[in-house]
């Protein structure tokens, strides 16, 4: 091999950089956080829309709600189940999901999402 020392060093550095996540997480069993439902949410049994929809689309729904409430004064949302809901993060969503740290933050932190809901909205006081 010619210039073997330099090339192997470079190769080790390169491969090491690419394997960064493996070293970084070595030995950790990073379990996905479990969603925790409050008693009230459990009792209600269903959310505004089906869970699979809420999982992937809640941010979009909240944005639409804000737009419609703030700009167009459309206050009520007709769910696909036929039920009407009052559009409000604090009044409707947090009514059941009052456990922000377990219901919102856990997963947001897990996937590195930092939503700016609480720039304007008041964070719920959780009774620990």
């Amino acid at each position: 091999m010619y210039d073997g020392g330099k090339i192997i060093t470079g190769l080790v550095i390169g491969v090491g950089l690419l394997l960064f996540p493996v070293f970084y997480n070595a030995g950790k069993a990073a379990k996905a956080p479990e969603r925790v439902l409050t008693e009230k949410a459990k009792a209600a049994q269903k959310c505004v829309e089906p869970i699979s929809f809420m999982k992937t689309e809640h941010m979009k729904m909240l944005d639409e709600w804000r737009q419609q409430v703030v700009r167009d004064d459309v206050r009520y949302y007709k769910s696909t189940s036929g039920k009407e809901y009052y559009k409000g993060l604090q009044t409707t969503c947090l009514d059941c999901h009052s456990n922000k740290s377990k219901f919102c933050d856990q997963c947001h932190d897990y996937v590195g999402v930092d939503p700016y809901c609480w720039d304007c909205h008041i964070e719920p006081k959780e009774n620990q």
Partner: protein
Amino acid sequence: MNFIFSIVLSSVVVLILVLIPWIGVGALKLDTLFGIIIPYIALFVFFAGIIGRVIGWARSPVPFRIPTTAGQQWSLPWIRRSPLENPKSTAGVVGRMIFEVLTFRSLFRNTKLQFRSGFRIGYEWEKWLWLFALAFHYSFLVVLIRHLRFFTEPIPGFVNLIEQLDGLMQTGVAPVEGFMLPSVMISGFVLLGAVTLLVLRRILIPQVNYVSLPGDYFPLFLITAIGLTGVLMRYVLKVDIVSVKELTMGLVTFRPSIPYEIGVLFYIHLFLVSVLIAYIPFSKITHMAGVFLSPTRNLSNNSRFVRHINPWSYPVPVHTYDEYEEEFRDKMIAVGLPVEKMPEEEAGSAEEEKE
């Protein structure tokens, strides 16, 4: 090869690659195959392949110095030298490589030959390729670093920082309700734009078109498909990213598991990425390792003061002139041939004769 054929061939291949996981996961429910087995195989092929390629290059001798000497070399002290364009030492080479790898200097030097007025040839600076390449590679890097959020727990600060900077515009708010949510990442769109420009360059410039093969179009189309599925997944056909991270974390901690129901789109994205990763060592994309080993960049121009011996030179028994003269001196003097070194007595007598 006809360029239309090249384009059609590579786009058909990419299309098939999109269809494979679509059918495989969507219809046949082969989640484990596409979510665990294929990514691991791809990573293995990538690392084995790239190490093999680098070792292969390392074993090839580079007997002679072949750096591109695009500037004045080191000579007399009063002649200004160009240490980066014509490096004399390792330090110069390191500087040259840093600029090459980080700022694509050799693309920046690209010129275009053309007739200016009448038949006078002129060389014009041609910066577009350099610009697209910079946009492409750096947005790709940002996209790659942002994806670390799926591969690390807890997520390191620099990943969050880059994501915040990337989403600086906060375009999520408007104009279409809920369309651009979560916040828009600029890098994804710059990447897609730059790839498009690189494809258009190959199609529209006749000279580039002429030298383009399926191997040039295929990676571009594959990266386009990866970018499109990624953007689609983020903004339009959303998938449950908590489950996605569960899968990716399982892969990097070697405790693979398939979480409950992730959208097919994710598996298409993952499969295309796996194909790209496995394809790297056997294609032009291997320049990610090759750039460090290109002799025209990483050799110093020192042929004038360091002797380089070809390692595969066959040991030839040589008979130098000195040895030759030593052997035949008497005979040469006898017939009056000039010699380099006169024997002592002969030299004395020759001088006497002159007088």
